[in-house]
């Protein structure tokens, strides 16, 4: 579910940087890696080196066109930029950024903006309900059959059995045969 997002934060104020990082920490669904930039002279160099997915910058410390420049300079076209606003900013400045967050935004608001930018749809995951075939597989696993035996019995390849088992583990968060046994009994898949 969690997608790796590298976030570069360009903000000279240490207090604000630490604050932003702390708020990002509270965003659970995302797997965030932080690159801190305190010295604006190193901005381009750091951005090219680490090719972040998201770039949060205080718009008053740099020229607005920087994002576009960096995108072409390091071929990192997918990099999103977000302006970090301490106070009101004019729309002309902001049009150079994909979005903006205010230092008064809540963690929830910031989270939603990031999720929107990266199109991390948390509900896009595979449906949680088991398919008929997956239930068949569970029944055989509970009986103690090996992957090979299950494959032979259901006329599918061992590889397919393994894929099913991986999907079952992902959907149910149950990884062991003994755990699947409990599941199967409680859901009336088997009658031991």
């Amino acid at each position: 579910m969690s997608k790796k997002i590298r976030v570069a934060i360009a903000e000279p104020s240490e207090i604000l940087r630490a604050g932003i990082i702390d708020v990002l920490k509270r965003i659970n669904a995302l797997d965030i890696y932080i690159i801190e930039i305190a010295d604006m002279n190193q901005l381009e160099c750091v951005l090219c080196k680490y090719t972040p997915d998201l770039f949060i910058i205080n718009p008053t410390v740099t020229e607005p066109r920087l994002t576009g420049k960096v995108r072409t300079l390091c071929g990192n076209n997918k990099m999103k930029s977000v302006a970090l606003l301490h106070s009101l900013a004019d729309s002309h400045t902001l049009e150079h950024y994909d979005d903006s967050v205010s230092i008064y935004d809540s963690a929830e608001q910031i989270r939603n903006k990031i999720i929107k930018l990266f199109d991390v749809d948390q509900h896009k995951d595979i449906p949680k309900e088991l398919s008929k075939r997956e239930k068949d597989i569970i029944v055989e696993v509970v009986k103690g059959l090996t992957n090979k035996q299950i494959a032979d019995k259901l006329f599918i390849s061992v590889h397919t059995v393994m894929t099913h088992r991986k999907n079952i583990a992902a959907k149910l968060q149950i990884h062991s045969p003994s755990g699947l046994t409990i599941y199967a009994i409680l859901n009336n898949l088997v009658d031991l």
């Binding site: 968060q173 149950i174 990884h175 062991s176 003994s178 755990g179 046994t181 409990i182 599941y183 009994i185 409680l186 859901n187 009658d191 031991l192």
Partner: protein
């Protein structure tokens, strides 16, 4: 956000022991594993450690690491600290194996409904398999790792083992317990809610204790022993 008052920074020898415990009640477990009993009145951490013959540096290292999750870099530990941590880890093992895990089994048995006989059997079987894994995991530390460390403490570096081997094999033992908790929460049919809740609380707490226990091993014990290995090599 839950409102909670917390101490900024680390606990020091001069802080009061009762403040530490009242503000961080999971530290009760740490106390008993160091062999410190309650009833310390207004005494400071230093006084209580001294009185109980516990190395105060080790005690504070464990406590601060558990509370803040940050390790203090370049902390130098002497042999006394290592011996003290060994005792702590050993007591921690017996706490899980001889007390905590059996008591959860007992509670599980009484919480599970007799009408779901097969399910109960499967759940207990799952649990027993799990406990066996924990046994193996801790047994390995008791019979391989700790004797290795004791021989290091006496100045002998055996060629056939080093702490990195332990580090690589050291897996998290709480995840399977969490699996059981998920199964019960998601699929167990309605029944005796109070008893089931109580055992679930225990499982949650035990899983997090086991995680803390492993955390101490990975982040305090292993670095201590790596340092000791270096020191012994230099001799």
């Amino acid at each position: 956000m839950t409102e909670k008052i917390y101490k900024l920074g680390k606990y020091t020898p001069a802080d009061s022991m009762s403040d530490l415990i009242c503000n961080n009640y999971p530290m009760l477990l740490v106390l008993s594993r160091f062999g410190i009993s309650l009833g310390f009145g207004e005494k400071t951490i230093r006084e209580v450690c001294h009185q109980n013959n516990v190395d105060e540096q080790t005690f504070l290292a464990v406590v601060n690491l558990l509370i803040s999750s940050n390790r203090e870099e370049n902390q130098d530990f002497g042999n006394r600290s290592i011996q003290c941590l060994l005792d702590y880890l050993h007591n921690s093992h017996s706490y899980f194996l001889d007390f905590r895990l059996p008591s959860i089994r007992q509670k599980l048995l009484s919480a599970l409904d007799i009408h779901h006989d097969n399910a109960t059997k499967a759940i207990i079987r799952f649990y027993d398999l799990y406990v066996e894994q924990v046994h193996t995991h801790m047994e390995y530390e008791e019979t391989t790792v700790f004797p290795y460390v004791r021989s290091l403490l006496s100045g002998i570096k055996r060629g056939d083992y080093n702490i990195r081997v332990f580090c690589r094999q050291h897996d998290n033992i709480e995840s399977k317990l969490s699996e059981l908790k998920n199964i019960l929460i998601k699929y167990y049919p309605p029944g005796n809610a109070d008893e089931l809740n109580s055992v679930l609380f225990d499982i949650f707490a035990c899983a997090s204790d086991l995680a803390s226990h492993n955390f101490i091993e990975d982040n305090l014990f292993v670095p201590m022993i790596s340092q000791l290995e270096l020191n012994v090599k230099k001799l």
